[in-house]
Point group: C2
Chain length 459, copies 2
């Protein structure tokens, strides 16, 4: 599988051969699966700030040491804590029946016994935003907006706006509560949770997501009923002003002081075991780094695996890392997080300086045999590398097929059985080859103007 090298290739023949050997090995390597199985089984759900997330950090540090990572450490930080204690909903009249519902992260509780109100349905969030300020007092607002299924996850941005928006607009209008159709593409009675935030200074109203079949059912009930449809929503929450989370860090030390950051986030929503969000990212990046460590000599750049804490509740670990490591950000030559499930990688995207684009093309070339196509230079890089990206650190994305991702995302169904072992191996292969080549390539990935400094800032 070794092609003839052109003069312009930013790697040597030997490096290309090593990348190919990494791919060969990754496709036969069970390490990622073993890591993922261990995390999702031995820890299970790991809500940010919870005792379970603390167990996940201990698990991660142990696992990193067992895999011979160096400089293994836990960097803790504080955050507010939220968890659900109860949640239920039912149509009270005219067609009494239960509805499957999940509180949204950050929601306030209802009074014990719930709130009951007439349903006011809006087909889209925009319809609610456009609604008059009067007429919703005491009602339960229901934003029924449907998410679009896409390969690249582009449906999410539009769909997720209602997660905070519904409660904000409901609160502004004196409504009793906000219900949304789940931000998800499946048809199972497993609602999708996720973080929401209230607007400053407004009365917070309880907010919850109906599963898609339950949103269908509520919409049908509204259509078939002669009069108003009344729903009761009961939510209990536990909150603490301060809890502990942390990032777990381990390294394959390099020959220089330059750093490549890769990883996934360690926390998960409480409903599932966080296999695709984001156990897979944890497993793939750990396994890729381990494979490089096993197969190549000491890399030129340090490969730093960061398992981010408290991603789900607002990228708390990402900000804590950027703060704690501010002084060495200019030595961060590249960063990426795997956080889009366990589907096969289908394209390589960069966010490099102009001068480094041949390096992106060269990496993409090596990945072709994995079915990975070339992408643009607008890589997102992953949520937890946002502060690094904002500080000018180049990023890449090994874009995964996300067709099914939002069937599972933030539901009880996010479990190990949903992961295809062969797809996981393909991910490890792509990550190992990419990170290895990026580690060895001459020169960095920034614009020349900003090379070696963080002054480039948020592109």
């Amino acid at each position: 599988a070794v092609e003839a090298q052109t003069d312009s290739a930013p790697y040597t023949n030997a490096q290309r051969e090593t990348a190919d050997r990494l791919i060969d090995r990754a496709l036969e390597d069970d390490t990622a699966w073993d890591i993922l199985e261990s995390l999702t089984t031995e820890v299970g759900p790991r809500l940010a700030g919870s005792e379970a997330e603390a167990r996940a950090r201990d698990w991660a540090a142990r696992k990193m040491k067992a895999l011979d990572f160096k400089n293994v450490r836990i960097e803790t930080f504080e955050l507010p804590y939220w968890s659900r204690t109860r949640e239920s909903a039912e149509i009270v009249a005219p067609f009494a029946q239960p509805l499957a519902v999940a509180a949204l992260g950050g929601s306030v509780a209802t009074p014990e016994g719930g709130v009951e109100g007439e349903i006011a349905r809006f087909e889209t969030l925009q319809d609610l935003i456009d609604a008059p300020m009067e007429g919703l007092e005491g009602k339960i607002v229901f934003v029924d907006e449907i998410m679009t299924r896409t390969q690249d996850g582009s449906g999410y941005g539009a769909a997720v706006a209602k997660r905070s928006g519904a409660a904000r607009e409901a609160g502004r209008r004196g409504a009793a509560a906000a219900l949304i159709r789940s931000v998800g593409t499946d048809s199972h009675r497993l609602p999708h949770t996720g973080m929401m935030r209230y607007a400053e200074g407004m009365t917070p109203v309880p907010a919850a997501a109906l599963s898609n079949p339950d949103a269908d059912q509520l919409a049908r009930a509204l259509r078939l009923a002669d009069g108003p449809v009344r729903v009761r929503l009961d939510i209990g929450v536990e909150t603490r002003e301060r809890a502990i989370s942390g990032n777990v860090i381990g390294e394959i030390p390099g020959r220089t002081d330059e750093i490549i950051v890769i990883g996934g986030h360690l926390d998960s929503w409480d409903l599932g075991t966080g296999a695709v969000d984001d156990g897979a990212g944890v497993a793939v990046t750990m396994a890729a780094a381990k494979l490089i460590d096993d197969l190549t000599g000491k890399p030129k750049r340090t490969i730093r695996v960061v398992l981010w804490g408290a991603e789900e509740v607002g990228l708390v670990g990402a900000r804590a890392y950027a703060e704690a490591h501010e002084s060495e950000l200019d030595r961060h030559v590249l960063a990426s997080e795997s956080d889009f499930g366990a589907g096969r990688v289908w394209r390589f995207q960069s966010r490099f300086g102009e001068a480094a684009l041949p390096k992106a093309a060269a990496i993409a070339r090596v990945l072709r045999r994995l079915g990975v196509g070339p992408g643009d230079n607008n890589a997102f890089g992953g949520p937890d590398v946002g502060p690094l990206r904002a500080a000018g650190v180049p990023v890449f994305t090994l874009a995964q097929d996300g067709w099914d991702y939002f069937d599972l995302h933030h539901t009880a169904d996010d479990t190990l059985d949903k992961v295809e072992p062969e797809a996981l191996k393909q991910n490890v292969a792509a990550w190992a080859a990419t990170v290895y080549l990026a580690s060895e390539m001459e020169g960095g990935f920034r614009d020349h103007a900003t090379e070696g400094s963080a002054a480039g800032a948020s592109r």
Copy 2:
């Protein structure tokens, strides 16, 4: 679509044309969908003996009258009542996490706060049956047997044995509780409930089903743990010795006193809205009878639609009907229940007397254009016509494609969105043509020896 008639065809050219017109009309008719939408939305879940099942009976009688059925009546009967009031399970040690679980119908409650015990896993029910009588005291037995996915539902018979068998064998051995892997073929965290029964004279132990992903998880935990895995199971139930259920009956009266019984069961498990089990059967058979009423003259035989009550908890309505109608069973010339979901009909099976087999072949011929193939003469006929079949009434089965049926069966996911409208129409077409032809054909479907009497009994 009218073929040349052969001399041997047991229908006239005009009847064949009418059957074809019924099929044409059924494929454009929304009646079944409207019925199913109304039942699953306006009534929703309808547990046997519950107030919701009573609402379903009122709904059915109203709907039958609106569709111009004659002799509409509710025939009530008594039954013991069981419902769940709470259910939860968790791995306590070593990997603390919740498990998705549903109490099995008829299970006793645990003490408040649950029972906790070490898991003893058995790969199959037979392994548990073969286990020694000692060694399981105080443990929680886990029967992890996997169900086979099949088109014709033949995997169910083997898989369902554990639903009663696990608790029986656990109870005999002094175990604290019984857990089973759901009798189902999906990979969602929605456990499958269903009825179980204790053996006479034995200590009843609480019994519940884990969803398939949770059974996977528990099996993995057992494999990855160094020592025992402990689980807590908490089940609450409400029982009453006597509750009311009933069959709802409506007719398209015929020109003779002979009767063809068709229908579906009105009750459903509580977790879903009973769209595929068995709202579809209710809707298809009502819509087929209505179409015959609208399109043909008065049929020779009365088409009696029976919407059975309390099927799920032990065919209580079936037995009540056979008792109440004992004196007219010899005038029941044919019976069938649609109770295998909403998938397309793929074959026609009869259980006719030898002399009537040309009639089966003739009906099958008419159904060919619907993609329905010929079947054998061993039709089951449906659960609620069991007592009729046992009394010698010939039955038929319009066998539905059940490939996905046990993904949904007895779960919260049994909802309207799982039904394909076009498949529902194809069902109505097959039922309308079959029932119309059977109603008009000369002579009956029994053996000549038993023709006109119930003496043939259980073939």
